[in-house]
Amino acid sequence: MKKLILDILLGSLLVFSFTYIVLLIAGAPVLDAFKHIWLGAFASSIKISQVLSVWVPLTLCSCGLLFTFRANLWNIGIEGQVTMGAIGAMAVLRTPVIDNPTLILCLAFLTSMLCGGAWGLFAGLLKTRGGVHEIFGGLGLNFVSQGFILWLIFGPWKRPGIASMSGTELLNRKLWLASLPGWRVATAGIVIAIAILILTWLFLEKSRLGLKLKAIGQNPKAALLYAISPERYYLQSILIAGSCAGIAGFIQTTGVYHRLIPSISSGYGYLALLLVMLSGYKIVLIPILAFFFASLNVGAIQLPIVLQLDSALSGVIQGCCVLCALFILGIRQRRAQP
């Protein structure tokens, strides 16, 4: 217990001194910077709801990544899976055939899952069939999906008479995910994120699938002796991860931007990778850490507005937190070893 408290103190001290130095170097008033980040994220319900709208896709991506990490897969292609999910959702939303907004949103939701999942599966097949490491396959597919979304926005889905990288035409208001009055976050998004969190927990901890993924992640050689085919479960886990990412894409499209933009994934996939590693692959920590990162992301916009600092500094602060946490983790692991 004493050691734990020591760890926490050491960790916090490290984070603060590190960020202090960074801000000092950047010539920023340090305490003011912290204060504004804090206020920028929590000063009002509008701001908190903005934090939540970042929290939703982060949580969704993280849940998906828990599955792949459990099978010891580096699903770096999650960015592309978010993008493909968004594209899938948009494809349905653009179809004028169906009149009922609820129905069309439900269809878009399912399609986004399907598209994200398929994109994940693609990376998985590249690994199991083609022998391409999932990191390289994933990165490659990220580029492909980026190219694809650009082509759509610049080509077939461009605004009439306009060819701009800025995005497709705004969705009909009926197709926007609703939010509570005064809130800036789609209620459905929060419900979905919480549901996925619970499902992820159930699948990973209570189902045989979760156990098998754990076994494969620990020892794929041995898994084969239990008649568990690692390939098959690699594909399943990356399919699930892709589907979760796809849902994040759906929410980004229908709840945040209300259109398709080139950077629809907003880098949340990569951020989620970091976050999940930091959590030590523990699902209880996911929503908390996602909230922390989301508030840092949202709060940091104050740095340029109020202090005229480059908001890239928030990335530096984020990096510091991660480094310090990893450092403490490393110390603890070394201590655990005889």
Binding site: L4, D7, I8, L9, G11, S12, V15, F16, L31, F34, K35, W38, L39, G40, A43, S44, I46, K47, Q50, V54, F154, K158, R159, G161, I162, A163, S164, M165, S166, G167, L170, R184, V256, Y257, H258, I261, P262, S263, S265, S266, G267, Y268, S279, G280, K282, V284, L285, I288, L289, F292, N297, V298, I301, Q302, P304, I305, V306, S311, A325, R332
Partner: protein
Amino acid sequence: MRGKFTGMFAVLVAAVALLLSPAQSQASADNFIFGLLMVGPANDHGWSQAHFEAGKEIEKNIPGSKMIYIDKVNPADRPGVTIPFLVDDLVSKGAKLIIGNSDDMTDGIREAAMLHPDIKFIHISGDDALNPDAPENLSNLMGKMEYGQMMAGFAAAMTTQTGKIGYLGPLINDETKRLAVSCFLGARYVWTEVLKKDPATLTFKITWIGFWFNIPGVTSDPTQVAKNFFDSGYDVVISGIDTTEALIVADQKKREGADVTAIPYDYEGACETAPDACLGVPYFNWYPGYSHFINSIKNNNWKKEWLWLGPDWKDMSNTRKSSISFKNGKALSGDVQAKLAVFAKGLGDESISLFTGPLNFQDKSVFLKEGETATEMQIWNMPQLLEGMEGASE
């Protein structure tokens, strides 16, 4: 493990919370705060900087006014940040007026205007205010850059030796098409009226990069596009984008011995980046527009307006009155400068009217019949490039 982590996190959050007392400054009553959302960096030597400096000028000249701003408002630079969110934030800091400086912000500003009916909005370059159903608190402001671009086209055509002028276009929309068309008309005027050459010998080519500035991996690289122009015999490149790549490349080529020049865009000081290669710059002065709207708010006579402000022909460089101007660059010869002044005078007294028929569109359909002059709306909603121009219309 789990407990440790949660604990650590809790302490972290608590520490942050304790350190920072929740005190937020409130605007005092007689201050007038306005918020400026810039699509590019505030120091881009182009579009965004022109807005930024106008805002600074307002702060100096309208007592009590204060600008809060944020630049690089675009999804590539600030992923996950939306216009309504930024407006929420600026409003919470006391802003009474929000200026969104990009066509790209149309949807976001429209949404924000609906969410904040008490706050006034100016959207630069849009035309929502022409729509009777649009919210009353949203006005539009734009400068008649068509004149600036005509002068740019004039200067370019007077300078080119090869008869090939390149136009570095941003994305394709009505605005960019009408600006490119104006530029072309200025150049063609030189060819037919000044130099008395066959218009077929003038090459005017547009390459669109896909956005107002370079987004690596997303847009075409403007530096590369400019290089391609110079390498394939174009000796003047006119920039229609917010940043100065064309000028920088021209300067490099000039140092390597090539006789090339460029015309940047948007910002009075744009030539300073590389004065030796700069023919001049057509630029915006947003002060007249901004001050008009701010005064109308202060005097409580705001109304929904669509303002399209042109140059003050008596003195284009008058910062209080003229919204559009052209500043001659070092590379523009004295002879041409004199002819350009005559041309500008002709535009001002309407003795020269370039949007007069016969003009055909790129697809050979008729834009203006013989003797017909385009209306403002015809120019504003330019559907296509013109016959004689190379480049995509959509």
